[in-house]
């Protein structure tokens, strides 16, 4: 396999009620990534696009081909990838494979969603399509509900009083809002306190509104290429995709005894760690899937950063903040940066690559000396993708 470099990056603002169409947002992020790569649209050989609900948001399937045609990437293979909220990182993994194999040298990867166009009720319904339609949806289970069930399982499993756990979970939202303020692409620009999280309206007990990420509109894109092509095209410090992992699970009841841990995540992370030879302590910065506050704890533990049941204490001690053991979601995460589901994995790639390039100084959020970064994205009941990025091309 060849080494794969992230050459250029693009990112629209994440927001409520975007005035742009999904195709336009994707096209704008893509052109930004192509220009950042010192390339032209005609240099792109193939495109890999995460998008989940275009059909429901705007009655638009296959956004990939329309956006590529709009920006002058004419007649290339431009395919949409769908793995619920992990669609973007799944598209990145797919693009990686095609370049690593030697089949293509320069490809575009992107993701887009325009979920707020649906309104909360339809958006909630369509997100439920990521649960089992026959054995779960009948009960009215939603995704905040899924993680609410995991919250009580977590409290029981690790013998934590629910009130203590909820206070720890609130710290996740507080930290994410703090960093969302510093992200020029971020959706929510508001500091928040533990008390405000705990007193926000209940969505699915024991989760409140501020335990939950918003519905979002937005797009992100990147150009991937072979190491050889990167040397010819750009003088920028290369950032490599060095590890990839992907695993899936079935419905919640089918994962039974393993819960509240998510086996698909642990397997996906093992794949990346094995591919790079790294251990959790080698990772300098991480963007993980904090769709709900408790999801951050389960993810940080599943990736091996903290012992099971101990992530709450880690957030209390500042171990997940800049200067701590492993800075997590310094972009503001899904909670404050926003979560346009098809774009999220690519947005995570954008932010980790910027950290590894050392370009986050201007936003005041640079993790000093970051050389190894991790991305973790979760879709539906269990489709979990992991990527390890490095500056050294291991």
């Amino acid at each position: 396999m060849r080494k794969v470099v992230i050459l250029g990056l693009g990112h629209t603002k994440f927001c409520f009620n975007s005035p742009k169409t999904g195709v336009e947002m994707l096209a704008e992020a893509s052109v930004e990534a192509i220009l950042d790569s010192n390339l032209n649209p005609r240099d792109i050989q193939s495109a890999y696009i995460g998008n989940v609900l275009g059909t429901f948001c705007e009655g638009q399937a296959t956004v990939s081909q329309f956006a590529c045609d709009d920006i002058g990437c004419l007649n290339i293979p431009a395919i949409r990838y769908e793995g619920a909220c992990a669609s973007g990182s799944i598209a990145v993994r797919e693009a990686f494979m095609w370049v690593a194999s030697g089949f293509y040298d320069v490809v575009l990867v992107g993701g887009v969603e325009k979920a707020t166009a649906m309104g909360t009720s339809l958006a909630t319904r369509t997100f439920c399509m990521g649960t089992d339609s026959k054995y779960e949806f009948g009960t009215g289970l939603t995704f905040p509900g899924f993680f609410a069930l995991l919250t009580r399982l977590y409290a029981t499993q690790y013998n934590l009083p629910l009130s203590r756990l909820k206070e720890q979970m609130a710290l996740v939202s507080v930290q994410s809002h703090k960093y969302g303020m510093k992200n020029p692409h971020g959706q929510i620009k508001q500091e928040i306190s533990v008390d405000e999280v705990l007193k926000s309206m209940p969505v699915c007990t024991p989760l409140n509104l501020h335990d939950c990420c918003p519905f979002s509109d937005g797009a992100a894109a990147a150009v991937l290429c072979s190491e050889e092509a990167a040397r010819k095209i750009s003088s920028k410090k290369p950032v490599y995709i060095s590890g990839i992992g992907l695993a899936t699970s079935g419905k919640m009841s089918s994962q039974y005894k393993y819960l509240p841990r998510l086996r698909a995540r642990e397997l996906a992370a093992q794949q990346s760690y094995q591919m790079t030879g790294f251990k959790p302590e080698d990772v300098d910065v991480c963007e993980l899937h904090d769709c709900f506050s408790i999801a951050s704890f389960i993810a940080a533990e599943g990736l091996g950063f903290f012992e099971p049941g101990k992530a709450g204490e880690a957030w209390e001690k500042g171990d997940a903040d800049i200067g701590g053991k492993i800075p997590i979601n310094i972009s503001g995460g899904l909670k404050a940066k926003g979560h346009p589901i098809g774009a999220t994995g690519v947005s995570q790639l954008y932010h980790i690559t910027k950290q590894l390039r050392g370009e986050m100084e201007e936003n005041g959020v640079q993790v000093d000396g970051a050389r190894v970064g991790m991305i973790d994205t979760l879709g539906g009941d269990g489709c979990i993708c992991n990527l390890i990025l490095t500056t050294d091309g291991i």
């Binding site: 339609s133 054995y135 009215g140 069930l149 309206m201 024991p206 009841s253």
Partner: protein
């Protein structure tokens, strides 16, 4: 190879308050809701068994935001139960005021019956769902 217990049959039985599962002839464990392979050992030699519906409550969440068309059900409570025969089952906890629910419920014994969600624009028909009641 056909499913031993397809959704249609499971659904029909649950509508009559009968909870069906699958017993694995390789390892003896029970799978419910049904799958094509045993959820414990992935064996394919399964036979249909009727389950007691008795179990203990593992987790629950009262929903205050519903998917499109289901606002009339709010607040409703989704629950996970570990059945006496082993498998975990997702359903609705009923017959108890959501405001009186707390962590003290975890571990309490429940029984199972069936109720029907009539379906919506995106469903292809009615779906029977397990409902759990606390054993007094």
């Amino acid at each position: 190879m056909d499913y031993k217990l397809p959704f249609k049959e499971y659904n029909k039985a649950l509508r009559k308050n009968k909870l069906l599962g699958l017993k694995c002839n390789d390892c003896g464990s029970i799978t419910c809701p049904p799958k094509m392979a045993c959820q414990e050992c992935q064996g394919l030699d399964l036979e249909i068994v009727e389950l007691t519906g008795q179990g203990k409550l593992l987790s629950f969440s009262t929903h205050y935001i519903a998917p499109l068309g289901r606002d009339n059900e709010i607040p409703y409570t989704v629950a996970l139960v570990e059945l006496d025969e082993g498998p975990w089952l997702l359903g609705n906890l009923i017959d108890i005021n959501p405001r009186k629910m707390d962590m003290g419920l975890i571990g309490q014994k429940v029984t199972t019956a069936g109720r029907v969600f009539p379906g919506d624009t995106y469903s292809d028909g009615p779906i029977a769902r397990p409902v759990f009641s606390l054993v007094e």
